[in-house]
């Protein structure tokens, strides 16, 4: 059945591949979907394990959290391959999730959906009907810059990640 359907997609035609430590990622743009911008998230060295960094992607109405997990994870970037980012909007009813550093999960305060950032935002338990959308990241070792490059999954409240206006 759907073995690879939800898994992190490896790079295809990655323009940034040579810059990336660990697995290379490029935004996954489904046919017909809008291309998304590249947005700076911060320097990798500024990240502390378990302390999420808030940013917005792909636009100012889309809060997201980048987090340094503390060990290399699938889809992680940065020198340790452990920085990942997700939409902060719970895909149940849109409440902002918060990071639980102990369990390394995102937990929603409204109806307690739980997502696993080490497993592509997979729903551990809860009411969401998709995984938590992942913001794909690219890392440039030269500048130590982490950039958001795309979204896997549909951000809560949208019909197309890139087309709000």
């Amino acid at each position: 059945m759907a073995v690879s359907r939800l898994r992190f997609l490896s790079a295809s035609g990655a323009a940034t591949a040579s810059l990336v430590a660990g697995a290379a990622q490029t935004p996954t743009i489904a046919e017909g979907a809008t291309a998304l911008p590249r947005v700076a998230v911060g320097k990798a060295k500024a990240f502390q394990v378990g302390k999420p960094v808030a940013f917005h992607y792909p636009d100012a109405q889309a809060p997201a959290l980048a987090v340094k997990i503390g060990h290399k994870v699938d889809g992680g970037v940065g020198p340790e391959g452990d920085i990942v980012a997700y939409s902060q909007l719970c895909v149940h009813r849109g409440c902002p999730v918060s990071y639980n550093a102990g369990a390394r999960t995102f937990v929603c305060p409204c109806h307690y959906s739980v997502y696993d950032p080490e497993r592509s935002g997979q729903l551990v338990i809860g009411h969401a009907t998709t995984n938590l959308p992942r913001i794909t990241l690219a890392y440039d070792p030269g500048s130590d810059e982490i950039r958001a490059t795309g979204v896997q999954g549909l951000i809560f409240g949208r019909f197309d990640n890139g087309k709000l206006s």
Partner: protein, 868 residues
């Protein structure tokens, strides 16, 4: 692509067709709006250019369509449409909330390019394997064998196992048509329902006490001071009842409703919750997070000791005179009071009762006392708390079902928590309801057909409708063995082919020689379908107009918005085809008496079937002297064409005590269509030509017994049944089992949803929650493959290590297909009073057989029962 790779969904245009439906799945029956529009004709972002009426140039927080709510369907004429199945903000049940089950209904529609593609599309008949057949042939074969067996061997040579509920795989149209066929036409007693070896209800003790089990309104959970959850996990299994009605109370945001219901009473700032379960479920974690630890009392009871627990709570209540003496005096059978008091140990010191209870149940005595306080101790201001009692399968499927239920409902009676806002004693429910059938021709507790079959006895034809006994029967492995072994004779007979008449004769000869003719009526190729000799493909919710009630008896019409695949038909139509075939055969023989028994199936539409059933409800009510308000069943005219002539007059007199809690008098499809997703709570009464629903039961102090009084039923702690005790002596682990929120019932549809398949490694395996100390002993880590075995079977499971379960008491997912069937390990024991199995309690050994399968590499094993 279903999930995280999907980055857009189409927008329904302003002129999209709009339908109402309830969710297909759990008892809560959340309301959904359905939009349907032709492919390529999407709407726009301006509010006037889309069906949601929303400005989509901004994030749409109110009526978002997630990718899993969207599907593509093809009508019978070949045209393709988008459909979006979106939770209804205006439905009072869910207020726009969805669960992971209902919110993924877009993934559940039949489509050729999705995992639902294997829906059953055409009838099949075995001929060297299952072969596609015409409806005429399949109906003639099944009708011919049914008639031949009926003539030669009588009604009990025909057996049936069928769903008795609402929602998907059910509805009033379903229960009426199938019930009419098997109870009024065939008149077999060899009938059992989808999940148990009886046709009688699961909480029979409650009904005998005069307390039908769906007696509350969901609003009561917003008004209660204390909510008791016994053997249930509403976060996972009644999700939006929990989140839309219970959690707001626990958070303190329903004070206005409490004050309105009880003027002059000072309500608690926040509601309190008591959870009784052997497992510390996600419900406990969620309630604690919402209400604070101080407002949640979790009693981690030893499985099978519930009667002792509830009797001890009652003993504490009586000790402090927290019982509602005036309620008991006015509304309870006086003769039952003394024996109830004896049964809870009133003639013994409370201290010694508590000491015993602590030892037996494993619950600290201080917690037993606190439970009694929260349930019944007057609050500041002297008012008694309004306590709402709920229970479900942990209570129902424990040992000695009758006594467990009685011990719990007794407490609601003792404390007078019935018939008032914020009170009640109700099951939480699994599937939705919708029961209207002629009376069953047999007697309580029903016939344990599965056991007879295993012994080589019982019916010769077994018709399995909309259920799967290979996953949901006690000692389920024996059901598979019977179907395979006794079914083989019939397969051999059918392999010889020939005309339908020849095949009827060969099948009859083979079942007279010990064979079993298996007919299946279903929507997917389940294991039963794969072993059946004739398969009828059924239409399902979305593909017909059907009606159901939820856990507060809220009746809605679930509209048809797509065609069934292939030539699949609604179950009522299949029953009618077979009944009419048999009727015509009797007419040809000149046997008018039998022809008359199979008459009354000339329904033209779903609405006709409902009207037929509704008339029976109305007739039962009007002939019942206890129901005053229904003396004029024709006070309103029902719309739509008249149904066929129903053999109502030939039915045995109703055995219902005074009223039918699922009564559908005064209703029809057209009226319900106008009520949309809020529907009306049955039973419906009519006054001055106006219909009104029943919010909660017993508000007039009348209970459902002939004299209107409730009664106590003394309950005594049962011994561990012999079959279970024998497993306990040989095997180390007590295997508890139950549900998980993502998985609906037997998983027949859930596994076809990519989000579910992906979450569980694409394996259709059950998981087994294991305490870390047991995991250490067994050398097991989360994800490892386990063998779980006892005298009844060997099955497998994937380990999920968590301290939510106690050491020695692993928890396994119930009723799942193929690789890991917890039902295989369950003993054949049933409560002799009710025929309800002890599914929740068996013993087995566990061994690690392999490490984590590669398909689980991406699967999370973070704690399922904790929020941290």
């Amino acid at each position: 692509m279903a999930d995280t790779t999907k980055v857009s969904v189409p927008i329904p245009p302003a002129d999209a067709q709009k339908f109402h439906t309830g969710c297909k799945y759990c008892i809560v029956g959340c309301g959904y709006n359905v939009y349907k529009w032709p492919l390529g004709k999407d709407g726009g972002r301006a509010a006037n250019r889309n069906a949601l009426g929303a400005d989509l140039t901004k994030p749409n927080t109110q009526s978002w369509i997630s990718p899993s709510m969207h599907g593509v369907v093809k009508d019978a004429d070949g045209s393709s449409y988008n459909v979006a199945i979106v939770p209804d903000n205006d439905c009072v049940v869910n207020s726009g909330l969805h669960s992971v089950r209902g919110g993924t209904m877009g993934l559940s529609v039949y489509r050729e390019d999705a995992p639902t593609r294997d829906r059953l599309k055409h009838p099949t008949i075995v001929h060297h394997g299952s072969q596609e057949a015409t409806w005429d042939d399949a109906v003639a074969l099944v009708g011919g064998v049914t008639k031949a067996l009926l003539d030669k061997h009588g009604p009990d040579s025909i057996g049936v196992k069928f769903a008795d509920h609402g929602g998907q795989g059910g509805g009033y149209e379903f229960t009426w048509a199938t019930g009419k066929f098997f109870y009024a036409s065939v008149r077999t007693t060899m009938a059992t329902v989808h999940n148990r070896p009886t046709v009688f209800g699961e909480p029979m003790a409650s009904r005998d006490m005069g307390i039908p089990e769906l007696n509350i309104a969901y609003e009561d959970a917003e008004i209660a001071d204390t909510i008791v959850i016994f053997g249930a996990n509403p976060y996972a299994d009644q999700t939006n009842y929990f989140f839309n009605h219970m959690i707001p109370n626990l958070q303190g945001s329903t004070a206005d409703k409490k004050r309105a219901a009880y003027p002059g009473k000072t309500p608690l700032a926040q509601g309190r919750m008591i959870v009784v379960d052997p497992r510390r479920t996600i419900t406990v974690a969620a309630a604690r997070t919402a209400a604070g630890n101080e407002n949640v009392l979790f009693l981690q009871v030893t499985p099978g000791t519930d009667v002792t627990l509830w009797n001890a709570v009652a003993r504490v209540v009586l000790e402090h005179h927290w019982d509602d003496a005036s309620f008991v005096r006015d509304h309870v059978e006086e003769s039952s009071v003394g024996s109830y008091h004896d049964s809870v140990g009133l003639n013994r010191a409370a201290g010694s009762v508590l000491a015993d209870a602590e030892r037996v149940t494993g619950v600290p005595r201080a917690d037993i006392v606190r439970a009694a306080e929260w349930i019944a101790k007057p609050m500041s201001g002297g008012h008694k708390p309004a306590t709402l009692f709920h229970y479900e399968k942990g209570a129902i499927w424990s040992i000695q079902n009758y006594d467990v239920i009685a011990s719990y409902v007794n407490l609601a009676v003792l404390t007078g928590n019935l018939g008032k806002p914020g009170t009640g004693c109700a099951r939480l429910g699994g599937h939705q309801e919708g029961y209207v059938r002629p009376d069953y021709p047999g007697k309580r507790p029903g016939v344990y057909v599965e056991k007879l079959l295993a012994e080589g006895k019982g019916p010769m034809l077994w018709w399995v409708l909309a259920c799967n006994p290979i996953q949901t029967a006690p000692a389920a492995r024996t059901v598979l063995d019977v179907i395979q072994q006794r079914g083989k004779k019939v397969s051999d007979a059918l392999d010889q082919g020939g005309s339908i008449d020849d095949r009827v004769k060969r099948v009859v000869a083979s079942v007279e020689d010990g064979g079993l003719f298996v007919v299946a009526e279903d929507i997917y190729p389940t294991q039963v379908v794969q072993h059946a000799h004739v398969v009828f493909p059924a239409a399902t919710q979305f593909e017909l107009n059907m009606t159901s009630i939820n856990g507060e008896r809220r009746m809605r019409l679930y509209q048809k918005f797509m065609d069934p695949p292939g030539t699949a038909k609604p179950d009522w139509q299949i029953m009618a085809l077979v009944a009419n075939f048999i009727r015509d055969a009797y007419v040809r023989e000149g046997n008018h008496e039998m022809a008359e028994r199979f008459a009354g199936y000339d329904w033209k539409s779903d609405a006709d079937v409902f009207l037929d059933a509704s008339r029976v409800s109305a007739q039962a009510r009007s002939t019942n002297p206890a129901t005053e308000q229904a003396k004029a069943p024709n006070a309103i005219t029902t719309t739509g064409p008249a149904g066929g002539t129903s053999p109502v007059s030939s039915l045995p007199p109703t055995s219902k005590p005074t009223f039918d809690p699922e009564d559908i008098s005064f209703l029809d499809h057209e009226y319900l269509r106008g009520l949309g997703n809020n529907g009306i709570q049955v039973p419906v009464n009519v006054s001055n030509g106006k219909r009104s629903g029943t919010v909660r039961f017993f508000t007039d102090g009348k209970f459902n017994r002939p004299n209107g009084k409730a009664t106590f039923i003394p309950a005594h702690q049962p011994e561990l049944p012999a079959e279970i005790a024998a497993q306990k002596r040989k095997y180390k682990y007590l295997i508890n089992n139950g549900r998980f929120n993502m998985m609906w019932q037997t998983g027949y549809e859930s596994w076809r949803k990519p989000i579910v398949a992906d979450r569980w490694g694409d394996r259709e395996d059950t998981f087994l929650e294991l305490n870390p100390s047991d995991a250490k002993t067994l050398g097991v880590q989360s994800g490892d493959v386990l063998r779980v075995h006892n005298d009844y079977a060997s099955t497998q499971a994937i380990a999920y290590v968590t301290d939510a379960v106690k050491p020695g008491q692993p928890f396994m997912l119930f009723a799942q297909p193929k690789k890991g069937t917890a039902g295989f390990l369950v003993t054949p024991h049933v409560d002799p009073k009710t025929n309800i199995p002890s599914y929740k309690l068996t013993y087995a050994n566990i061994e690690r057989v392999a490490g984590k399968p590669s398909s689980f590499a991406h699967v999370t094993f973070k704690d399922l029962e904790n929020l941290g």
